[in-house]
């Protein structure tokens, strides 16, 4: 048993125990399980949201794209800043509505605002279908990291199964609070790993950032401007993709839901102000990808860049540290994703769609049971359906982004109607599926999800305008 292996195992087990411990005193009802009793202050909200944002994708996908595609990877640095700027206006308004009506999930919001259960069921289903690839991404990344970091002594599938079962254990017992606690370990380890490697490798091989970039410019002059090493990811692609992902960001059911767990609307607003600082370490991740391209230019898989370079540069115990950081980094978002996917299925598909009279206790029990179902599904996907990491993520964004008009117009525009939102979502999602299946993404140089969102917004507004406003109105919370 080598040092790396010990570090990885110890971290994963300790994190899970901490997660389980986090919920020991709470009576688990749906309110405590999904929104932490709406009692989270600024520190824990920040940890939770940062926990959702900094995923394995940050480790592998961003450096992988810097390695294999070049400049298009910069989109990852941009979209967060856009998303937080939007959230400054949207989330506090949403929080107020959530507090007033005791909402737990995103479909809850649609059901209340548009007084429509079918709409809630559709939103829940699209949400779950978008979560699955995101979860698969985390799992695939986790298996990958642990296998490489342990130098092959833990097989990727074994790593996925062990750490994911542990993750489920703390989701099952502690809900969102468990995830927030584990996020503390994850954030510290992640920042350390990214900081040490991101500052270290350009310095070790080239004597600094500037010299590394100069070497890259000399060797591959087009790598650092759009479209980089790709054929179709030009400026227009980046513009449409950052708009899509910036708008879509808070439409993820789990990110949306964590807004409800704050103590007050002010906490959420202040959180939105400091969040963009959390984007900056991504720059360091890019550095690793670029340095890897110069030092080990013949990797078959770009997603390997970060780990391969660490492996080449640092002693094996540090590789273990990076592996452990990577594993926890996958576990926290996975926990939150599983939690919300389960709640969506139990509360908004089963209760809303089939059995409105089911009691809170039944829904809670079913949510916990769904943790096991979602886990099994995601494990099967992760083991049998490999895909390039970034592509998976953008696919999920294409889906959840279609909620944007319904959420935002619902908050700020009294005239928007159920049929408007309904037809917008259906047509928008339909267009996305059609464009992707017929291999026309990007379409006219733009991201397919963005096209879907544009058409969706126009249809929502148009249909709402030719109709009478729907009967239930949520008061204008923010304006």
């Amino acid at each position: 048993m080598n040092a790396a292996l010990v570090i990885i195992l110890a971290t994963v087990i300790f994190s899970s125990l901490l997660g389980i411990y986090a919920g020991r005193k709470l009576k688990m009802n749906l309110e405590n399980w999904t929104v932490g009793g709406r009692r989270f202050g600024i520190v824990i909200i920040w940890l939770l949201m940062a926990g959702e944002i900094y995923t394995t994708f940050t480790f592998l996908g961003a450096s992988g794209w810097a390695y294999s595609k070049g400049a298009p990877t910069f989109y990852i640095l941009i979209y967060g800043a856009l998303a937080y700027t939007l959230s400054f206006f949207i989330l506090p308004a949403l929080w107020k509505v959530g507090k007033r009506y005791g909402l737990h999930t995103q479909p809850d919001y649609f059901i209340k605002r548009y007084n429509s259960r079918p709409l809630g069921v559709i939103v829940a289903l699209i949400g779950v279908f978008s979560i699955i690839p995101y979860l698969q991404l985390q799992l695939a990344g986790l298996g990958f990291i642990v296998e490489v970091a342990s130098n092959g002594s833990i097989n990727s599938n074994l790593a996925i199964i062990i750490s994911f079962l542990l993750t489920c254990a703390f989701v099952y017992t502690s809900g969102i609070r468990g995830a927030a606690w584990v996020a503390i370990i994850k954030d510290v380890m992640m920042i350390l790993a990214v900081g040490i490697v991101g500052i270290g490798v350009p310095y070790i091989y080239f004597g600094g950032f500037g010299k590394m970039f100069q070497a890259l410019i000399d060797q591959k002059p087009h790598h650092l401007i759009l479209p980089g090493a790709t054929a179709h990811m030009d400026v227009l692609w980046v513009m449409s993709t950052v708009l899509l992902t910036g708008f879509g960001f808070y439409m993820w059911p789990h990110v949306f839901g964590s807004a409800f767990s704050a103590k007050s609307d002010k906490i959420i607003k202040r959180n939105a102000i400091i969040m963009p600082f959390y984007q900056i370490p991504i720059l360091l991740v890019f550095m690793v990808g670029f340095t890897a391209l110069l030092v080990i230019p013949d990797l078959k898989n770009g997603d390997m860049a970060f780990l391969a370079l660490v492996n080449k540069t640092y002693p094996s115990w540090f590789m273990g540290f990076v592996g452990a950081a990577g594993a926890v980094t996958a576990m926290v978002p996975s926990a939150i994703l599983v939690l919300f996917a389960s709640t969506l299925l139990a509360k908004n598909v089963y209760q809303t769609g089939f059995n409105p009279r089911a009691g809170q206790k039944t829904v809670m029990r079913l949510s916990r049971f769904m943790v096991l179902v979602i886990t099994t599904l995601a494990l099967i996907f992760a083991v049998f359906v490999p895909n390039e990491l970034v592509n998976l993520l953008i696919l999920g964004y294409d889906g959840v982004c279609q909620f944007f008009p319904g959420v935002v117009l619902g908050l700020f525009w009294p005239k928007v109607t159920k049929s408007g939102v309904f037809s917008g979502i259906v047509v928008g999602t339909g267009i996305v599926i059609f464009l992707i299946l017929s291999h026309q993404d990007p379409f006219l140089g733009m991201n397919a999800g963005f096209i879907g969102l544009l058409v969706n917004s126009l249809i929502t507004i148009f249909v709402s305008l030719i109709q009478k406003p729907s009967s239930i109105k949520i008061e204008q919370a923010a304006v």
């Binding site: 206006f89 970039f213 650092l224 513009m239 969040m275 963009p276 304006v479």
Partner: protein
Amino acid sequence: MQKGTKLALILAAIPFITLVFALPLVNRIYPLILGLPFILAWILGWVILTPPILWAAYLLEKKYNLPSEGEEK
């Protein structure tokens, strides 16, 4: 719409203008800034400036909007 909200929205447009719509103009390597290619330095700079911009928006909302934060309108 209250005046504070309006001012805050105007400020919030800045990251969208600089980080999305200005991209065609900044897609270049030179001049290098602190050793970074120009496009990367531009993006990084505006990402770092976003928190101060939002902070200003927060202060403006506080200054000009009615102090009705909280429950009822």
